[in-house]
Amino acid sequence: MSKLKLATVWLDGCSGCHMSFLDMDERLLELAELVDVVYSPLVDAKEFPAGVDIALVEGAVSSADDEKKIRKVRAHSKMLVAMGDCAVTGNVPSMRNPIGPEAILNRAYMENASAQQQIPCVVVPKLLKVVRPVHELVTVDVFLPGCPPSAATFHTVLMALVNGEPLDIPALTRFGA
């Protein structure tokens, strides 16, 4: 059997979910015997490849770049896992929703700056008006709550997905875990 292709994607999150993924430690090296990590902040692929079997997505969708990326990820992945509370509910990034991007940008780059006050706009992506969880934009196959889900949860879930076994996620994790 050829190895499954695994991707990990980082949208608007704190990287804590990726850290928890790495917290599998030596088990991650064993997992790498079963799957190829084809796209991730950890490897050097610049383009999301075609034919990904499992895509783990951290973070909410908050910029134009995130939106483009999540659509591409969905189109190229058989199974999409919303990893962590930010991807599942919007969590921390969505705390800006009642305030809106203008006020956020003004505070950071106009009021809380002491030189060259301006709103960055060159090359950097535009912020969306509303931060949204992944499932509001694309279909999500597996929801994995937690802030972040523990390494043990990642390991159990990934082994089940790789082996095609059933999953009982509520038994493994919860929001804020």
Partner: protein
């Protein structure tokens, strides 16, 4: 025709970034920028919440160095409460921060940068990653995984959770350390030493091969800033800030958190969501400085532990004054790992470490407070204002990556100018330009606490800013 090379995303980086390199009609590099492409808004949405929620909210700025945010945030809250935390809590927080420094440095060195250093800057990008390192050199690769695990496991033993422990609170910590857990940490120490030694020895063997890179990887004079103790030893939690110039002369000293805003300003550039910190008396950009392991080792006169002190003495031999090449961040990081292990061992021997008095209680006694700490990648500053009920009315955060932002941009330009000739470049050349950024170990989720993300892209733009070519490496 002039053009722009874009590296998008910059990979093996903690966050979302792009690099653009502008070439003129002759194909020479005119300018280059490192763009942080994420913004998050913590400074604004924290407003209206209660101050004692701040540590656990602010930890969510960054999953790599949540502990540094917990500590700087709790210290700002303690300034608002006007309390001194109990000495045992101070020891426990110190240990927590050292554990985080070790795990974060292990991530930076082994997972993100060792693929370049061990497999080569021009090696096959398909295997130029931690899995490739483990395949090529299982002993060293596994030592890196184990060192990261060592730091993360200590965080879990202290705070019950590896990422975002809720254990650090305004006033101290929630639970004392048990004897059983102390013994578990002690039992892990011999292995950690062996792994840190292995890494340092391996690094010293290969570092010479990278002399050409060291010449152009952000190699320029600059100011440096970090916390330091009064006796000149390294400090991550307490102490005060010192700023030195490129010759090593002290420019500012004894800067506590209250004075920070007077002395350090932040500028905005249109191309990045991360601001650019600078020393106000010199203005922007002349007052830009570097922070993090290189800055700390340039500033301190001792580590205060025997093995790390030997390594510091050897490090200082690299240059007559402060070490200027950002390439040496790697070396400094490994020395700090060794220091962290030695220091944790000493902290565990302190009789106060199991003391039950770990939390002070108080309400709002001041309407403003600031706190600072050394995060793995450099100085971190949290500053809050509250009303009489403890509701937050204003927040400012100055993060390590913002303080290195100017130097990262300068370093990217220096390397691009050196390597990209006649408009020609290879994948290996672009990887070197990215590797300059990796030396700083920037944390893009932190730096874009305002909004943010970091993969690298290279774009060629013409003199009018039109994109003429894109190099997204695949």
């Amino acid at each position: 025709m002039s053009k722009t090379i874009t590296i998008d995303p910059v990979t093996r980086l903690e966050g979302h970034g792009k690099i653009t390199i502008q070439l003129n009609a002759q194909g020479e590099v005119e300018d280059a920028h490192f763009h942080v492409t994420q913004v998050r808004g913590f400074e604004r949405f924290a407003e209206g919440r209660l101050f004692y929620e701040m540590p656990s909210l602010m930890a969510r700025i960054c999953g790599i160095c949540p502990v540094a945010h917990l500590i700087a945030s709790a210290k700002a809250c303690e300034a608002i409460m006007a309390v001194r935390i109990p000495p045992p809590a101070r020891l426990l927080r110190r240990m927590l921060n050292l554990a985080q420094m070790i795990q974060s440095h292990a991530l930076s060195f082994f997972y993100l940068s060792s693929p370049d250093l061990l497999l080569g800057m021009d090696s096959d990008p398909a295997v130029r990653n931690i899995f490739g390192v483990v395949a090529a050199n299982p002993r060293l690769g596994r030592a890196g995984v184990a060192l990261r695990r060592f730091g993360q496991h200590i965080i879990e033993l202290l705070g019950s959770k590896r990422v975002h422990p809720g254990w650090v609170v305004p006033g101290g910590v929630t639970e004392p350390l048990t004897a059983a857990r102390r013994d578990e940490i002690l039992a892990m120490i011999p292995d950690a030493y062996a792994n840190a030694r292995l890494a340092l020895d391996a690094y010293k063997q290969i570092a010479g091969r990278f002399q050409p890179e060291a010449e152009v990887f952000g190699n320029f004079p600059s100011h440096f800033m970090s916390l330091i103790n009064e006796d000149g030893s390294i400090e991550f939690n307490r102490g005060a800030l010192r700023l030195i110039d490129s010759a090593g002369k002290i420019i500012e000293d004894g800067m506590d958190a209250e004075r920070f805003a007077e002395i350090i300003g932040e500028a905005v550039e249109p191309y990045s969501y991360t601001k650019f910190a600078y020393y106000k008396p010199l203005g922007y950009p002349q007052g830009c400085y570097r922070v993090g392991p290189l800055a700390r080792l340039n500033i301190v006169t001792s580590m205060g532990t025997p093995e790390a002190d030997k390594e510091l003495a050897a490090f200082k031999q690299l240059s007559a004054g402060p070490v200027q090449s950002s390439f040496h961040y790697h070396h400094a990081r490994l020395i700090e790992i060794l220091y962290g292990i030695e220091k944790i061992e000493r902290l565990l021997a302190d009789p106060l470490i199991l003391d039950k008095q770990v939390r002070a209680h108080a309400g709002v006694n001041c309407l403003e407070g600031a706190g600072q700490a050394e995060a793995p990648r450099g100085t971190l500053h949290h500053h809050y204002k509250v009303d009489e009920n403890g509701k937050v009315t204003w927040v400012n955060l100055v993060i390590a990556t913002g303080q290195n932002n100017h130097a990262m941009n300068q370093g990217v330009l220096q390397a691009a100018k050196h390597y990209v000739k006649d408009g020609q470049f290879t994948e290996g050349i672009l990887n070197r330009v990215e590797a300059v950024v990796r030396t700083f170990d920037p944390c893009l989720s932190c730096s874009s606490h305002a909004l943010g993300q970091m993969p690298l892209a290279l774009t060629l733009v013409d003199a009018h800013g039109q994109v003429v070519d894109r190099m997204t490496r695949s």
